[in-house]
C-alpha cells in the first residue's frame, strides 16, 4: 500500500489527516515541521507527501524545494495543505516543486478523493 508522509505543525490536523488516510489503508508517517519531515525523508521512501505551508523551523515550501533535490523525491507527487487560496501562493508552491494543493478547510472525503486521484 502506498506510503504517505503527512507534515503539519497542528497536532489536530495531523491526527485528522493521519486517521483518514490510515482508515483508507494507507501507510502514514507524521512530521510536525519541515526539519522533522526532511529527516524522515532521508531515511525512508514515500509515494506521496502532504505538507502544510506555514510551519515553524522550516515551512512547507522550503521543505518541498529540499525534497525535490533528493533523487527519491524527484517525481513523486507532493501536495500543499494551504489556507491561502490566492493565486500567488499557489504559484509560489508550484515554483517550489509542489504537484498541487488541497485548500483548507477540507473534509476527509475531499482529502481522500484528491489523494486517490493523484495516486491513481
Amino acid at each position: 500500500m502506498a506510503k504517505i508522509l503527512a507534515v503539519d505543525d497542528s497536532a489536530s490536523m495531523r491526527q485528522m489527516v493521519s486517521f483518514t488516510l490510515k482508515g483508507a489503508g494507507f501507510d502514514v508517517v507524521e512530521a510536525a515541521d519541515g526539519v522533522e519531515a526532511l529527516g524522515k525523508a532521508k531515511s525512508q521512501t514515500f509515494d506521496l507527501v502532504i505538507s502544510d505551508v506555514n510551519m515553524p523551523k522550516m515551512d512547507g515550501l522550503t521543505l518541498i524545494k529540499e525534497l525535490r533535490k533528493l533523487p527519491a523525491f524527484k517525481f513523486i507527487p507532493m501536495l500543499m495543505l494551504t489556507t491561502e487560496s490566492t493565486a500567488d501562493k499557489k504559484q509560489e508552491g508550484r515554483a517550489a516543486g509542489a504537484t498541487g494543493w488541497i485548500v483548507k478547510p477540507f473534509n476527509p472525503e475531499q482529502l481522500l478523493a484528491t489523494i486517490k486521484k493523484v495516486l491513481g
Partner: protein
C-alpha cells in the same frame, strides 16, 4: 466513508488555547513601530493554525473570525502595515474573544455573539473592509460559463519540466475520461533523437476531444495544478445536433444522484449538539522526567532481583542478614526516589500561571493610567498541576490589588520622589517542601491608620487593643474587610482578601503580607508542592489513628483543668493566653470509644481553620509524617469532617481530618450532643 470530526476536537482545542497563549505573549512583546518579523510570524502562524483547524473541524464562526485576524497579521507581516498600539490592542481583545468562543464551544455553552460581532467590526474597520464581506459566497462562481457546449477540444503541451512537479498527464486524462467520452491523440513530433533525449523531461503534446455536456470549470479544475507549466488551449466543439441530444440525457441521468447524496451527507452537523463533551484533562511531561523514571524502574528491578536471590536460599545464614539490610535500604532509597520522580510528572513550571500577568498588567495599567513594569523570576519553579489550576485566581486577585491599590499614579509617584514607573515583582521559589510565591509592589504600602479605623468600625478590634504591625496588616484578610475608598472596576468587586486567603488555605497553604509605608507591600504565598502528599501529625483516639494536616496545627499542649470553662448549654472552652478556644472532643464527633475522657489524661491540639481556632481533644500525639492522600469520596463516600484517608506503614487506614468541616460539625452538633455522648460512644463500641 464518513469520519467523525469530533474526535479531533479535543486536540484542536488544546492546541488552540496554547496558540492563543503564544499570541498573547508575543503580542505583548511586539515593539510598536518596528516589529520583529519573527515575532509577527509566530503570531501569524498561531492565528493561521486556528483558522485552518476551525474551518476543517466545522467551527465556522471561529474560522471567519480568525480569518480577519490573519488578514490583519498578514498585512503586518508583509510590511503593508505598521504595528500600532491600536492594532496590538484590537488583536489582544480578539485573542480574548477567541478564547471565550473556543471555551464556549468546548463546553457547549453559549457564544457571546454580540461581543464577537463587536470585535469583528473593530477588525473590519482596521482592515478597511465593508462589514460582512461576502466571504462564504466565493467558491460558487463559474457556473454559467460554457455550460451549453457539446464538448471540448483540448490542446495540451506540458513544458519540459512539468513532470518534475510530480504531475502526471495520464492522471489528468483519467480524470477527463470520467467527465465524458474522451479521444486522445498524441503528438510525438517534439521527440528528439535518442542521443538528445533527457529522460526526466517531457516532449509530448496531446490533442484531446472530450464529448458530452461538460462544464468548462470541471476541465479547468483538472488542469489547475499545471497552469503555467504547460500550453493549454480549451475550445468548445462545433455542435453536433443529433448525437448531442442523446448524450445530454445520459449525462443528466448520471448527474442526478449527485446532489441527492451531497444533501444526504449534510445532517451530521446537527448531531453535534447531542454529543457530550468528554473533558479529558491531560498533561505534557518532558521526556527527561520519563527517562528518569525508567532509569529508576531499572534500579528497582535490580534491587528486587537481589532481594529475591536472598529469599531463594535454602537456608538463611546470619551472614546474609547484612545483605538483606543493604537490599532493604536500597529498596527504601529506590522507593523514595521513585516517589519523588512520579510526583514530578504532575509538576509544571509556574510560568503556566504567570504567563497571563504581562497581559493583565498591560491592560490594567492602561485602564488606570498608571505606568507599571512587571518583573518575574523563578518562572521555572515547578508546582503540582492541580495546585497550579487553583492558585491562578487568588494570584490574579493579588496582582490586581497591587496594581489598583498598591501602585500610585505617575503624578503621585513623582511627587513622592519615586520613579514614575511602578514596579511589580512576581517571584517563585522552592523552600523545603513548599513553593513560595511573592507578589511585591513598590507602591504606597498598606495604610495602617485606615486599616485600624476600619477594623474598629467593623468590630474586628477594640480601640484600646495594642497590635503589632503584622497583626494589623493581617486584618485585611478578615471577611468583609475592604479599605478601598472607591470600589473600582479592577479590584474590590465584593470579593475580598478573605476569599483569597480561604482559597489558599483550601490548598493547604498560607498567605501573609508585610508592608512599609511609602515603599510598598509584599504578599507571600506558601503552598505545598503537591496535593497528593501531606505533612501530617498522627494522633490517637481510642484504637484509631487520625491525621491532622500540619499546616493547620498551631500548638499542642497538656490540659490544665483549671483553664477549662464549661459553659452551660454550650461546648467547653479552653482559656489560652486570654483567648477562649472551644474544645472539640474528637471521640465525640466520630463516635469512637476511648478510655481517655478525663482532661488530664489527654492532649489538646489547637488548630485553625478558616480563621477560627478550636482545640481538638485527643488521646495521644504520635509521630509526624508525610502521608499519601487517598480520596475517601471515590473509594467510599463523602464523610463530614474527613478530607481523605491514607494507608500507614503497618497497612492500617488512617483518616485525615478536614479541620474546617470539623469546626462546622462541632458547631452544628456539639452542644446538643454533649449530655448523651457517653451513650453514643458506648453504642459505637
Amino acid at each position: 466513508m464518513s469520519i467523525d470530526m469530533k474526535q479531533f476536537l479535543v486536540t484542536f482545542y488544546e492546541e488552540s488555547f496554547e496558540g492563543l497563549d503564544t499570541m498573547e505573549t508575543e503580542l505583548l512583546n511586539l515593539d510598536i513601530g518596528e516589529a520583529d518579523s519573527e515575532t509577527v510570524n509566530t503570531i501569524f502562524r498561531a492565528a493561521h493554525s486556528i483558522k485552518g483547524g476551525s474551518g476543517t473541524f466545522g467551527l465556522n464562526d471561529v474560522a471567519s473570525f480568525t480569518h480577519l485576524m490573519e488578514t490583519l497579521l498578514d498585512e503586518v507581516r508583509d510590511g503593508r502595515r505598521q504595528v500600532s498600539q491600536q492594532i496590538v490592542d484590537v488583536l489582544l481583545t480578539s485573542v480574548d474573544v477567541l478564547r471565550d468562543m473556543l471555551s464556549a464551544l468546548r463546553d457547549e455553552g453559549e457564544v457571546d455573539m454580540a461581543r464577537v460581532q463587536a470585535v469583528q467590526q473593530l477588525l473590519d474597520e482596521l482592515l478597511g473592509n465593508e462589514p460582512e464581506a461576502a466571504e462564504s459566497a466565493a467558491p460558487q462562481e463559474s457556473n454559467s460559463t460554457g455550460a451549453e457546449s457539446q464538448g471540448w477540444k483540448i490542446h495540451f503541451r506540458p513544458h519540459p519540466d512539468m513532470l518534475q512537479t510530480g504531475n502526471d498527464p495520464v492522471r489528468m486524462f483519467r480524470e477527463l475520461a470520467l467527465l465524458g467520452e474522451l479521444k486522445i491523440e498524441c503528438d510525438t513530433s517534439g521527440l528528439p533523437t535518442l542521443d538528445k533525449l533527457v529522460a526526466e523531461e517531457s516532449y509530448l503534446a496531446w490533442n484531446l476531444e472530450l464529448h458530452g455536456d461538460v462544464d468548462k470549470a470541471s476541465i479547468d479544475v483538472i488542469f489547475e495544478w499545471v497552469e503555467g507549466d504547460c500550453d493549454l488551449v480549451v475550445d468548445p466543439m462545433a455542435s453536433q445536433p443529433a448525437a448531442a441530444q442523446t448524450d445530454n440525457t445520459v449525462t443528466e441521468e448520471k448527474k442526478a444522484p449527485e446532489p441527492a447524496t451531497s444533501t444526504a451527507k449534510k445532517p451530521p452537523p446537527s448531531e453535534k449538539r447531542h454529543s457530550t463533551t468528554t473533558e479529558s484533562s491531560s498533561i505534557r511531561v518532558s521526556i527527561d522526567k520519563i527517562d528518569d523514571l525508567i532509569n529508576m524502574m531499572g534500579e528497582l528491578v535490580i534491587t528486587q532481583s537481589m532481594l529475591s536471590q536472598l529469599g531463594e536460599a535454602e537456608e538463611f545464614e546470619t551472614a546474609q542478614i547484612e545483605k538483606l539490610r543493604d537490599g532493604l535500604s536500597q529498596l527504601e532509597r529506590n522507593t523514595r526516589e521513585m516517589q519523588e520522580n512520579v510526583m514530578r510528572i504532575r509538576m509544571l513550571p509556574i510560568s503556566f500561571a504567570f504567563q497571563r500577568f504581562p497581559r493583565l498588567v498591560h491592560d490594567l495599567s492602561g485602564t488606570l493610567h498608571k505606568k507599571i513594569e512587571l518583573k518575574m523570576s523563578g518562572e521555572n519553579t515547578e508546582l503540582d498541576k492541580t495546585v497550579m489550576e487553583k492558585i491562578g485566581d487568588p494570584l490574579v486577585h493579588l496582582v490586581r490589588n497591587s496594581i489598583d491599590h498598591g501602585i500610585e499614579s505617575p503624578e503621585v509617584r513623582l511627587a513622592a520622589g519615586k520613579d514614575e514607573m511602578g514596579l511589580i515583582e512576581l517571584n517563585a521559589c522552592h523552600e523545603g517542601g513548599n513553593i513560595i510565591i511573592e507578589i511585591i509592589d513598590d507602591g504606597a504600602g498598606l495604610n495602617r491608620e485606615r486599616i485600624i479605623e476600619k477594623a474598629i468600625s467593623n468590630g474586628l478590634i477594640n480601640e484600646d487593643d495594642s497590635l503589632s504591625d503584622e497583626q494589623i496588616y493581617d486584618l485585611i484578610f478578615q471577611p468583609g474587610f475592604s479599605t478601598a475608598e472607591v470600589v473600582s472596576d479592577v479590584s474590590g468587586r465584593g470579593v475580598g482578601m478573605d476569599v483569597v486567603r480561604r482559597n489558599i488555605r483550601a490548598l493547604g497553604g498560607s498567605v501573609e503580607v508585610t508592608s512599609r509605608p511609602g515603599q510598598g507591600s509584599k504578599f507571600t504565598i506558601r503552598l505545598p508542592l503537591t496535593l497528593a502528599i501531606l505533612d501530617g501529625q498522627s494522633v490517637r483516639v481510642g484504637n484509631d489513628i487520625y491525621i491532622i494536616p500540619l499546616v493547620s496545627i498551631i500548638e499542642s499542649l497538656q490540659v490544665n483543668p483549671a483553664d477549662i470553662n464549661s459553659l452551660r448549654g454550650s461546648a467547653d472552652v479552653y482559656r489560652l493566653r486570654d483567648e477562649y478556644i472551644p474544645i472539640v472532643r474528637v471521640y465525640d464527633i466520630f463516635n469512637v470509644h476511648t478510655e481517655i475522657k478525663n482532661w488530664e489524661d489527654g492532649l489538646l491540639v489547637i488548630v485553625e481553620g478558616e480563621g477560627i481556632k478550636v482545640a481538638l481533644f485527643v488521646d495521644d500525639l504520635l509521630g509526624q509524617q508525610q502521608v499519601v492522600i487517598k480520596s475517601l469520596e471515590t473509594n467510599f463516600k463523602k464523610v463530614e469532617g474527613i478530607s481523605g484517608a491514607t494507608i500507614l506503614g503497618d497497612g492500617t487506614v488512617a483518616l485525615i481530618l478536614d479541620i474546617a468541616s470539623m469546626i462546622q460539625l462541632s458547631r452544628d452538633n456539639g452542644p446538643e450532643k454533649t449530655p448523651g455522648r457517653q451513650d453514643n460512644a458506648e453504642q459505637a463500641a
